[in-house]
């Protein structure tokens, strides 16, 4: 019997790194199966794909993982000259499959497999091996690969179908929920943000467009519980991260009169759960100190919110994590000292909390509440006003191009609604279901009317069309009438020049008309308009307008411009001229008072 000497302790926790990595793999299985179901099996059963395409999600994920494994094996063999008999165990101890595995889960489903292989190679080589291999990398390797692919190949991927699987390509217009959100600059109604993809439950379960593995918040939550229970991940990071995003978007939403659905929508979109649970907790590239992990999570939340609202890059999660990877060293340094000193860590948290509040309030107040209510997909072509009755011609973006319709509103009630022009794919369904009448009948509570399955986009567009029209009516028709190709021209009025002709003053003022600028020559004598002439315009029926005595009427009724009727057949142009004149009088009045 031999007595041996060894360094203690002589009992060890039975957890080990291989177990940790194994548990991580286990927690990914439901997510992989889900993506196979959602992106493979369902489109296959709906007849959108063939059998081989059905297995594409699985092939995709396995290819990613395998590429990493092969890359690492070759690297160890060629550059580190490791013996064949030790090669496998070395690669095993380096947990080689993970960069490629995670990469395949954060990419859009329509990424060509060659690009995935290239990305997985880059992720492993640049993200991991060149830093010195497992345990030494600063950045999350999978995210290095994802960054490489999105910066170099995003157009190819988008042309290939982007985030939408074969089924979603047919049923959903637009892109991922967050890309859609960025269209309305971050704030929108439930119908705009959530409804095109289903309900919040679909968001939670994961039946929304998104990357291969990151759509199911529910499964990520399950994985989080499992990984926390088995002590695999730093649980503070995802908890704080998601809470921070929730809190900030809650503030932003609440300030803009949006309900609790809005922060829920925000945390359930954009792969936040997947990123928070799997990518932000990558042990090698996240802080080791507990306080550091909380601070890290807070900053991830702040950055994600900033990226989502203040840049044109809607998927802020991965970018935030890569950015914060750089600061792990400094966070750990500060927090290792703060651990010894309670008051120091207190100030650290106060600073973070203040930052969260300031950033949320800054973003919340940056939305002009009025403009948030206008739907960029809705345009008013013309409106005919007589007393309380307004006849509108409006367009709303449908599934294929714009739907043009005439709507007559009297006393706040829709009395007539006709679709004039549309190119929708299955419009016959709308007609056969008499959806138009359903809308008219249910006009008092349009939001609650269900869209038609099969023609979701079209039916919801018709609904929005009416909602937007009524909104315009109720806003007292303050809305400018906007030409289709000059969406953003609202305040184009300006006084170009002024000529002094003894007592007479001649102003040249311009405003936007139906076809570009209208410039009027306005003669003022003794504070009264004596003459209105057209200096230049591209409008269609100018002759007709002059002939009808429209301008004389304006001169005669200059104290009550609104009472002058528009020239029929040239409503838009007449209204533009009226608008110009009103603005001029307002400006002139102000000038007079000075």
């Amino acid at each position: 019997m031999e007595i041996i000497r060894k360094t203690g302790p002589y009992i060890k926790d039975d957890n080990n790194t291989t177990k940790i990595m194994f548990n991580l793999l286990i927690s990914l299985f439901p997510i992989i199966l889900f993506t196979f179901y959602k992106n493979g099996i369902i489109p296959f059963y709906e007849g959108k794909t063939n059998v081989i395409e059905m297995f594409y999600p699985l092939i995709f994920i396995i290819t990613g993982a395998l590429t990493s494994f092969v890359t690492e094996t070759i690297y160890f063999k060629l550059f580190l000259k490791i013996d064949n008999n030790q090669l496998l165990s070395t690669v095993k101890r380096s947990y080689a499959i993970f960069p490629g595995l995670f990469l395949s889960l954060v990419l859009p489903i329509n990424t060509p497999i060659t690009i995935l292989i290239l990305g997985s190679f880059i992720a492993t080589l640049v993200g991991k091996l060149l830093f010195g291999g497992f345990g030494n990398n600063i950045f999350n390797p999978a995210l290095i690969g994802a960054l490489f692919i999105t910066s170099a190949y995003s157009i190819i991927i988008a042309n290939n179908g982007g985030y939408l699987n074969k089924l979603e390509l047919d049923t959903i217009s637009g892109a991922t929920p967050l890309a859609n959100t960025s269209l309305v600059e971050g704030i929108g109604t439930y119908q705009e943000l959530v409804s095109p993809y289903g309900t919040l439950k679909d968001f939670f379960i994961g039946f929304i467009p998104g990357s291969v593995g990151e759509t199911s918040a529910f499964l990520c939550l399950v994985a989080f519980i499992y990984l926390t229970y088995t002590k695999v991940i730093k649980w503070r990071i995802p908890t704080v991260y998601i809470s921070t995003v929730f809190l900030m978007t809650y503030i932003i939403g609440a300030y803009n009169d949006l309900g609790i659905w809005y922060p829920l929508f925000q945390i359930l979109s954009g792969g936040l759960f997947f990123g928070a649970v799997f990518m932000a907790t990558d042990p090698v590239t996240s802080p080791t100190t507990p306080i550091g992990q909380v601070i890290y999570g807070m900053f991830l939340g702040i950055l994600t919110v900033i990226f989502r609202y203040m840049t044109s890059y809607p998927e802020g999660v991965l970018t935030s994590i890569l950015t914060m990877n750089m600061f792990v060293f400094i966070i750990d340094r500060i927090c290792s000292k703060a651990r010894f000193n309670f008051s120091k860590s207190k100030y650290l948290f106060i600073a973070c909390w203040s930052l969260i509040i300031i950033v949320s309030m800054f973003i919340a107040t940056s939305f002009n509440k009025d403009s948030t209510e206008t739907d960029p997909n809705f345009n008013i072509i013309s409106k005919d006003v007589s007393n309380n009755k307004i006849s509108y011609v409006v367009t709303q973006k449908g599934y294929v191009g714009n739907i043009k319709a005439s709507v007559t509103v009297d006393d706040g009630k829709i009395i007539d609604f006709k679709v004039i022009e549309q190119n929708e794919s299955f419009y016959s369904k709308i007609e056969s279901d008499d959806y138009i009448n359903t809308l008219i009948k249910g006009q008092d509570n349009l939001e609650s009317i269900d869209t038609l399955s099969g023609v979701t986009v079209t039916s919801s567009a018709l609904k929005r069309l009416l909602i937007n029209t009524i909104k315009d009516y109720k806003n007292g028709s303050k809305e400018n009438i906007i030409n289709e190709d000059t969406n953003n021209s609202r305040n184009n009025f300006e006084i170009i020049k002024m000529e002094d002709n003894n007592d007479e003053k001649i102003y040249y003022a311009s405003n936007l008309g139906f076809r570009g600028k209208i410039i009027l020559k306005i003669t003022v004598l003794d504070k009264t308009i004596t003459k209105i002439e057209i200096d230049s315009s591209n409008e269609d029926y100018m002759e007709q307008m002059i002939d009808s005595g429209f301008f004389d009427n304006l001169v005669n009724n200059q104290n009550n411009i609104d009472s002058v009727d528009a020239v029929s057949g040239a409503t838009v142009s007449s209204n533009a001229v009226k608008e110009l004149l009103k603005k001029f009088i307002k400006e002139y009045e102000e000038y007079k008072n000075e």
Binding site: I3, I4, P9, T17, I20, G135, T289, S336, F340
Partner: protein, 421 residues
Amino acid sequence: MLGIKIPKYKSISLKKDFIEYKSPDKVYIPLVNGYDTDVTILVKKGEYVYKGDMIGKTKGLFRVPIISSVSGVVSDFQEMSYAFGDTVKCVVIENDKNDNYKEDKEIKKNISDYTKEEFIEILKDSGIVGMGGSSFPTYVKYECDKKIKTLIINAVECEPYITADHTIVKNKCQEILETIDAILEINNIDEAIIAIKNTNTELKKYLDDFIGTYLNIKVCLVPDLYPMGWERNLVKYIKKKQYENIPIECNIIVNNVSTIYAMYEALKYKKPLTERIVTITGDLLKDPINVCVPIGTPVKEIIDVVGGYKDSNKILLVAGGPMMGKTVSENLVVSANLACVLALSELKNDELINCLRCGKCVEVCPSKLSPVLIKDNVGNKERLKELLPNRCISCGLCSYICPSKILVREYVNKAKENIKN
């Protein structure tokens, strides 16, 4: 964070009642107290010593007497292994097995019948030191001028395997309570709190049976965590106080329960500290048990007496608990601070894997250190000054928890050395 839950392995040495083994042929009294090996030797080879005679005295800051645990003839001086892992010089005494004291011991009827000065003098002369492992001379704690408000009796025994304190409380409950009461009266202390683990229902039962008449003594159940028995943790948990260096800053004294029993023997019979209970346990022992032995008994002899090892090629012989103890050679001898001897089968050699920076060592550290960062910066003196490796109490939790099986504590120990130079 007070600590984490770790496996206990305590029941194996509690299956049998403790035994006494009082007559080894030779004892090897280590000439050391704690880390202090600078000892004045007061005996010569061939000299007859009585039990309880002072045979040496440390020269350091605190003068602690080294006391003969048997009566007999000094036959030699020999290097033997000691609880802290190294070998130290020992006085070899041939035991005449008569337990002769120089003078007849009188029995004090009422052990609270001492003045504070007499009390401290007795502790000093009896060589009573902290028996939990530190070997800090006990009289020093009582000698200070500050008012002592609370005496905490540490019976937590948070290290796995060890049941020596458990055994002494179970068997000497009345004596221990009597001593605590006397200490309170002599030193004018307001209250005493006996800390035991909340899972230790057996001890709770024993204490509850006897504590009724002692109004100033309370039992406090502390969480079953390691290292809950660390003074700082006890003071923090029981009195919600934190101190800079020693508990007396908050008017608190912490004593190990075995030390309290040694004080009983000293106060009652004027017997100095000559014996202690040692837990002999581990998976390679046939019959794990607690044994009461004289200081200086060779551990090999005790193991033979209790039944010996199981068949095994390799054996880890550990002095102390599995967390803070160290492997020793077979010629280990019992000292006042040796609570446990473990015979463990060899740990399976885990493949060493790169640190994955999971942060578990940071999370568990009871001293709020960041061991992984200390490991990263072990050669960087400037950075080490921020990381305060000197606050490490060597509890071993960082090495215990590390999933990559890195011996993190050794890096911290190295950092401690580096920062000194």
